[in-house]
């Protein structure tokens, strides 16, 4: 298991009039090498959960085990936090607001240098990461503040990818990007998954959830209401207001209900469905 969360509680503004329970007895396990989706409506506690995973927030109660690292509710007892953050890196919701260096390459290298890389080594890795998010040499020396929102997002994501963590957590990586931008980022994430990394992705886009994730967890008011295979989730839920079943999946379900021999478990994208329908027609 890559991640084990046990009876996790998180309360914002504890013992003040603003107290708010964001996570309420959350327990879940995420196996190594899986691609996991984290969904739920706005304010359900998704961002809070992922911030607990790399000790940016310290659990109010409960514990988290990330491979060899252990996070408990005693701040002082949590050691090796820096190593943990190199092992499990988090791409923040709207990461473009964290840029500050004078050039794009320096900003990407900044994280690497914090984790102990030498400057020229870091710059080299930064170039690689930037190329992989689709930003070529022209961008290396530009100031991050004169880029568009989408380009800035790519720079910020490159900053985390360059660290090359074993577990990558993305908090709404595609929110506000155009179709191409979102596709580029997702294919990059997919590539990382194929390289054996564990991926956890928070998103509101159910098409992405269906297409990429194997498993998903649904949060509602700080509680986990579903944990299991993604296709099973879409198969079992009704048209809930928080989770909209992707149209493709609905179509597959309808076909199956009408008697077509469709294997719902294998539908991830349009091609899968077409393949199944074709082989069915041939028969």
């Amino acid at each position: 298991m890559a991640i084990e969360v046990k009876n996790l509680f998180y309360i914002y503004g504890r013992k003040t009039p603003y107290q708010q329970t964001a996570l309420d007895d959350v327990s879940l396990t995420i196996p190594t090498g899986s691609f996991v989706g984290l969904i739920g409506r706005t304010g359900s506690g998704k961002s809070t959960l992922v911030q607990n995973l790399n000790a940016l927030l310290i659990p109010t109660e409960g514990e988290i085990i990330v491979d060899e690292f252990h996070i408990g509710n005693k701040k002082r007892k949590n050691k090796k936090i820096k190593q943990l953050r190199k092992h499990l890196s988090l791409v923040f919701q709207f990461p473009e607001y964290q840029l500050f260096e004078e050039t794009v390459e320096k900003d990407v290298a900044f994280g690497l240098m914090n984790f102990g890389y030498k400057q020229n080594e870091a710059i080299e890795l930064a170039h690689k990461a930037l190329l992989s998010v689709g930003l070529d040499e022209k961008y290396f020396k530009r100031s991050p503040f004169e880029l568009s929102g989408g380009e800035r997002r790519r720079v910020a994501i490159a900053g985390i990818l360059a660290i090359n963590p074993d577990i990558l957590v993305l908090d709404e990586p595609t929110a506000g990007l155009d179709v191409k931008g979102s596709k580029d980022i997702m294919s990059l994430v997919k590539q990382m998954h194929e390289d054996g990394k564990t991926i956890i992705m928070v998103t509101h886009d159910m098409d992405l959830v269906l297409r990429y994730t194997e498993q998903c967890f649904v949060l509602k008011d700080g509680k986990v209401t579903f944990g299991g295979s993604t296709n099973q989730l879409f198969d079992t839920i009704s048209d809930d207001s928080a989770i909209e079943i992707p149209p493709l999946f609905k179509l597959a379900k309808k076909l199956k209900d009408r008697g077509a021999p469709i294997n719902i478990e294998n539908i991830k994208n349009a091609e899968d469905l077409i393949k199944q329908v074709n082989s069915w027609r041939k028969k």
Binding site: Y12, G13, T16, P17, Q51, N54, L56, K82, R85, K86, S89, L90, F92, P95, Y97, Q98, L99, F100, F110, G111, N114, F115, F145, G159, I160, I163
Partner: protein, 293 residues
């Protein structure tokens, strides 16, 4: 970053919360002036400071202000304490009388130095606490309305009262937002391996830069967006405006005002009395005892 709770408005429903903000400001000014009146004899000052401390504690209990917050915010005053002590000890005033330790004919350490600096600290603590009671029981918006109300007469001389009040209320409105933003950026940088609490001087400097630049950028961006949004909705500072919530005076305000006036009047009376009758110790007069000197 969320431990900056000092004087933050807490949404309760106590007596102090319900008092009109204009009234609260007036009473605060009255109390502050009373605190700052200086008496001849140290025991009088001590006695009055004690009275003020008790009053303050009562006020904080009534307003349900968290004592812990107060102590937390006072903790950061130690630097000021040392600074004042050093200044007072090394630059003695010729009127000082009570020698603590004499080095030679020209130089000595006086007890007065400690007393003077202690007295200043005490007054500062009293003022900070009182201000904290005001800000934690009054919504920032109400505070700015009250300021605007007090400055209304200045409109006659074309002083931009409304503009200043608007700027002030926007600034106050955005303090929590900026704190949240700071928190968010710190976390984002921490996940890139920045350690804000450890490391050498250069590392720390870099860490602070990585926080400040994004913060400035987003603050400037926010202000541009806000001004565009205000313009798009037809905001014009010269137009006459109406208000959603009117400030009203109630029986609570009368009680509070009477209380403030009574304290102010009492202290002022003692002050005048003290200055007319030279060298008389009020403490002695009141309790009929002599505390020496």
């Amino acid at each position: 970053m969320n431990n900056v709770t000092f004087g933050r408005y807490s949404p309760l429903n106590t007596f102090t919360h319900k008092v009109d903000p204009r009234n609260k400001i007036l009473i605060l000014i009255l109390l502050m002036v009373s605190i700052f009146l200086q008496f001849h004899v140290w025991s009088t000052t001590l006695l009055l400071s004690g009275v003020f401390l008790i009053l303050l504690i009562c006020l904080m209990l009534i307003s349900k202000v968290n004592f812990l917050d107060l102590f937390k915010s006072l903790k950061s005053m130690w630097f000021l304490v040392i600074f004042l002590l050093v200044i007072y000890v090394f630059i003695p005033n010729p009127t000082y009388k009570f020698v603590c330790y004499r080095f030679n004919d020209h130089y000595a350490i006086y007890w007065d130095s400690f007393y003077q600096s202690g007295y200043i600290i005490l007054r500062l603590i009293l003022m900070i606490s009182l201000t904290m009671v005001l800000t934690s029981t009054t919504k920032p918006m109400d505070l700015t309305y009250a300021f605007e109300w007090y400055m209304t007469p200045l409109k006659v001389i074309r002083f931009p009262v409304h503009e200043i009040a608007m700027t002030l209320s926007i600034a106050l409105r955005f303090i929590p937002t900026l704190l949240d933003e700071t928190d968010r950026i710190m976390k984002a940088q921490a996940s890139r391996g920045v350690d804000f609490n450890r490391g050498g001087l250069f590392k720390r400097f870099k860490a602070v830069i990585s926080l400040i630049i994004p913060l400035f950028v987003s603050a400037i961006q926010r202000s541009e967006e806000l001004s565009d949004a205000m313009e798009a909705r037809g905001y014009n500072p010269r137009e006459k405006r109406t208000r959603y919530r009117k400030l009203t005076f109630s029986w609570r305000d009368i009680i509070a005002l009477l209380f403030g006036l009574a304290i102010f009047g009492g202290i002022l009376y003692l002050f005048i009395y003290d200055h007319n009758v030279e060298e008389i110790d009020l403490f002695m007069q009141i309790f009929g005892i002599n505390v020496g000197f």
